[in-house]
Symmetry: C2
Subunit: 400 residues, 2 copies
DNA sequence: CTTTATTTTATCACTTTAGTTAATTTAATT
DNA sequence: AATTAAATTAACTAAAGTGATAAAATAAAG
């Protein structure tokens, strides 16, 4: 536990003020004092420091309520810039954003497979250099690089422990980037970064117990409690892809039977579709190894009833998985992401109906479940949010 | 967020010192200063206050290491007493303990069924009065009453929202007891209180991410993270009894199929045993409606191979449920409690083997799993721990 | 339409709290 | 007697709290 000191007290109060401006800005000094119970002089002097640090600025004057007009304070979103890297199994997506998460610049690289550790790390450096070159006038205001890496990540050590699709182990990503660039570097698992993206930029703003579920080739979840990521004892909290929900189900890549992933992932949907087609149904789809979940979605879009049924059924299974999640973590909000979630139109009604049917209590039944609206760069924005967390934890005082 | 103030800073430091003495006592002022990074004068003055409040006392002098002998400090376990009530579905168990959780006095009441709300609340008051009368010389040093109530509990409001076995709703337990006794009153769900008991008095001491799983008539779990209970958004975090693990399993009382509870609870074990016996097996057990899980345990104890097989199988299913728990919450430790856990001798090897087989990573595979050693009054001790939490949060300054 | 009173925002000067530094006392060991 | 460790005392300082004051607006009165 951190001891109490004058510095700690000041830092805490500064953080409270900064967070207040972030969440409720534009806001006046007087209003901050009222809502935080800090005294006006304290607010004044700490705001002065925040303005000196450039992270906060005075904006327009507000409306008077029968006295002197308040000077409104806002975060200076243009003060600093951040780089976010979504390091996926097949491609790398890089964004440069301001503090509001507005994407200023974007780059994408396809990964040559197979790839060596050196090649992969070089690609990260190359991409970062490239986006900095494209935005050279802002390079001096860049404060950090965030990396959302697929696979198992040790965020504290800054390492990618295991990237299954690339078959790479123990890559010192943070160290490598920190050696090449004079910026703060932070790395995290992609599913968890996504949860952070939702709390900073998505529909999870203000939610204090959010789960972001990613359903694609695999299934994973990130858990954010009170704005902080919950990682568990050994970085595997939220590994719901391998939650057993069917004792006698299909065999999973992990060796067990009936993992959630064997039922609701993209490949699982394709496989189930193929299987059912063998039994003979009326559909526009063509059976075969190349059939994907996206094909099923497209067929549903063009009115194929069988495809719609498949997706509704998938929604039911997702709902069962989410109900298990609700009964253990009991989040206030669940946000769905990933390739499969793009078929949300067909999945969501079934998901919600299933949770409503199966959850134990009234409030559990009405747990907010929605589709992410962050778009294609969601994970890269999560990487950016890693830097924001650091910036705000340090009250805007970034020093590499 | 709580603002930083002189009071808050002092309170935090006092709490750090008190916790240090609790966990590492007997310990000297100098040692506390070293380990907490607080300065010796700060430690000295705050310890003085703690001694004035009677919660800390000086004990024997320690060994000198080449200078003045250190004065060792310890929690004064005899300074205050607490009452803990385990309000179960059929009986009430009341204990009076000192701050170390040593049981000084104990009472038990069988509940007359059916029972009305007034009768139930009266029973709680009657029991508390009785144990106070039996310990009249200590009544003045009692600081609080903790209640571990079965069913759904709103700890903040101090109410039992729903007690399924008694069919009682919205009982204002905290209010009722607070009106009758001039003590602090705290109430919590029994499974969660149990988790607290393990962190304060059991094998979970010092564990910062503990799950206490109760397997009896029903199945539930309490989650304690960094010494605090994790309740979730609507008080149902840890409701693992209704986690679906078999899509096509038996129908549960909740209406769904394949809830963990339909496989590993006491009644479920009995039912499965009956079912298998119909298929014809060699066993000393007699089929029938009156067969209980305890009978199976007794048969296993007297060498019945069939009974042992049933319990091993049950252990496998418990292991699957715990693996799901590990993949979502990723605790550092799981402690098993409740009637079924009494057959732990036969269950535990299978549980551990299953987790080892199914968990994803090496550290997840080796999650510590053990049987509770708290004995019969475990839940009542959890109720007592509720008061300890309050006492230590307030640095020993209890005021009703 | 000007003047005055009132209200709200923000700051300044002074006080108080409690941690920090450095020196001192106490009491042991070598 | 010298040294070392524990605990306390006294002076210092950081940062919040209190109360007064300045600034700038609106509302009311003449």
């Amino acid at each position: 536990m951190q001891r109490g000191s004058f510095q700690a007290m000041k830092s805490l109060n500064k953080s409270i003020i900064l967070t207040k401006i972030l969440n409720d800005g534009p806001i006046s000094r007087a209003q901050i004092a009222k809502e935080t119970k800090l005294t006006p002089p304290t607010v004044g002097s700490l705001v002065k420091e925040l303005i000196d640090q450039k992270i906060v600025k005075e904006s327009t004057q507000g409306m008077s309520k029968g006295g002197r007009k308040p000077t409104m304070l806002v975060i200076d979103h243009q003060a600093y810039y951040m780089i976010g890297i979504d390091a996926g199994p097949t491609k790398i997506d890089i964004v440069l954003t301001n503090l509001a998460g507005d994407i200023i610049s974007n780059l994408q690289y396809q990964l040559p497979l197979p790839i060596t550790e050196a090649q992969f790390l070089d690609k990260l450096i190359e991409g970062t250099e490239e986006i900095l070159k494209l935005n050279s006038e802002r390079a001096n205001d860049v404060i950090g690089i965030g990396v959302a890496m697929h696979g198992v990540v040790d965020a504290e050590a800054g390492e990618s422990l295991y990237a299954p699709n690339l078959d790479l182990h123990n890559m010192p990503i943070k160290q490598t980037l920190a050696n090449h660039f004079a910026y703060l570097v932070s790395i995290e698992n992609d599913a968890r970064a996504l949860a952070l993206a939702e709390t900073w930029f998505g529909q999870g703003k203000g939610s204090d117990r959010l789960v972001a579920v990613n359903i694609g080739t695999g299934v994973g979840a990130g858990v954010a409690i009170d704005g902080e990521l919950y990682r568990g004892e050994s970085h595997i909290a939220g590994e719901i892809g391998h939650m057993t929900i069917d004792l006698n189900g299909e065999v999973c890549s992990c060796g067990n039977r009936g993992c959630l992933q064997t039922i609701i992932s993209g490949p699982a949907i394709a496989e189930r579709t193929n299987k059912l087609m063998k039994e003979g149904v009326t559909t526009s789809l063509t059976e075969g190894d190349h059939l994907t979940a996206y094909d099923v979605y497209k067929a549903a879009e063009s009115g194929d009833q069988f495809a719609k049924m498949i997706l509704t059924e998938t929604g039911k299974y997702i709902g069962i998985g989410l109900t298990n999640l609700i009964h253990t973590l009991n989040p206030s909000q669940i946000i769905l992401n990933g390739g499969v979630a793009k078929a949300g139109k067909y999945l969501l009604p079934a998901i919600k109906a299933t949770v409503k049917e199966r959850a134990l209590t009234a409030s559990a039944k009405s747990t907010a479940i929605c589709l992410s609206d962050l778009g294609d760069h969601a994970t890269a924005l999560g990487a950016v949010a890693l830097i924001l967390v650091e910036l705000f934890a340090k009250n805007g005082e970034i020093s590499i």
